[in-house]
């Protein structure tokens, strides 16, 4: 029973009820950090850590938390884990901490985390809640990473800081090299990519629904 629920969670969080493409949550950071792949990766890891461990903590405490202060407790737990991520980044990867700027602190306001605490962790066992938090974080991260891959590649011509497009252009005879798509670096590029992604996923859902109906 628990196994099948765990598999169900994977399917829901990674695709069918993906927090970004279906629930349209966490959009602020999706637009802000996805122009650089490495920043996106760290942001995704940070959010996954916070969601998973906050869910675990809330689930462990769910029977002793008074109902009327449950959201205050959830905020306290989430912000504590965000501070842990922030301090750890400053201590071990200070450059990335610096380049992510205010967005690490803003993980606290990410609706995905609060949503999972309220909808799942406060009424499920610690193991399943941790799994749900982990999968929600991964569901958020993989969408962001795909968007970041396209934005950094077209915007800067690089991947993880390594120039890719320039040598590629020269190798196919384009002497001017890669002309950077500035649009992709800016926030409208994020909107464009996200909308494209949502359109593709909705299209796939529609095809699947049509096939089931046939």
């Amino acid at each position: 029973m628990a196994d099948s629920k765990a598999v169900q969670i994977i399917k829901e969080d990674l695709w069918r009820s993906n927090p970004v493409t279906v629930q349209i949550l966490g959009i602020c950071s999706t637009l802000a950090v996805t122009n650089i792949f490495l920043n996106t990766l760290i942001m995704g890891l940070g959010l996954t850590f916070v969601t998973a461990f906050s869910a675990l903590t809330i689930s462990v405490l769910r029977k002793v938390i008074p109902q009327r202060v449950r959201m205050m407790v959830q905020t306290l737990v989430i912000s504590s884990f965000v501070v842990i991520v922030d301090i750890s980044l400053k201590a071990y990867v200070p450059d990335i901490s610096k380049s992510l700027g205010p967005y690490v602190g803003l993980i606290i306001t990410n609706c995905i985390i609060m949503g999972r605490m309220e909808a799942f962790a406060s009424s499920n066992t610690p193991g399943l809640s941790f799994w749900d938090g982990l999968m929600s974080g991964i569901g958020y991260s993989w969408i962001l990473l795909v968007i970041a891959f396209v934005r950094e590649l077209l915007g800067f011509g690089t991947m993880l800081g390594v120039q890719i497009m320039d040598p590629l252009m020269h190798s196919i005879g384009v002497s001017t090299g890669w002309v950077q798509w500035s649009f992709m670096i800016m926030a409208p590029g994020g909107f464009f990519m996200l909308a494209t992604f949502i359109w593709i996923s909705n299209h796939l859902f529609a095809i699947r629904a049509a096939n089931k109906g046939a």
Binding site: L76, S80, I84, I87, A91, P94, S99, G161, M186, A187
Partner: protein, 252 residues
Amino acid sequence: MNRSVSTVLFMMVITIVFIAMLAFLNGVMQSRIQTNLQIQESKSILYAFGILPEGVDESTLSGTVTTSDLPWNETTLLKTIHSELSPIAIPITAEAKNWLSGSMLTPGDTLTVYVRNAQKEPVQAFGFYLRGKGLWGTIQAFIAVNPDFTRAIGIDFTDQVETPGLGARIAEQEFKHYFRNLDIDSVCRSSESDLKMVRKKSDPNTMKVTSELQAVTGATQTCNGVMNMLRTDLKFYFNLIQANPHLFATKN
């Protein structure tokens, strides 16, 4: 026990537990964070003065390189900063405070200026912190200038919370290298400064001296913040150092 009292007690206990956990973690990591900050600050100061790690040729650095990418050995870094530069505290008088009009600098009784005057030579360069307003918050930079305040030697942005990938790119080599040999004469000596940001600058100022910098695409407000910071703070430091020549007299 009354339900309200137990709820309040629960909140107090859980808050204390989490705060204690964070305080412990902060205590454990604080020395590491402080060391990182000190290393980063030293790298920034030396970069602004044009002092790079041995074997690094600035002209070959990629445009996306930031100061933290420079391959300094920690011991050499701290040794270099102590041997090459001397911090000098300048007292801030009431008159000096009047020169701060429009600036975001908030000095106490003194302000520190770094002087490059190794081997008891006359001053070769001055370096100091600037503060300005960016899009999301305060921008802090360290700039080095020549002794007569006509050319910038270099700049590094030591603290900023601008948009990653846009305004935050002021910290990259692509933007900063135009500060090398930038003409700042008009900023310090006339009421109308010639300093300007251009969309596309063909030559760096090390090849042809101008008072132009190349703007960062999509970061107009950040660039304007940098320009305002340069205009107000450079003039302030120029006046401050001119008013205290005795502090920088050649040591014999």
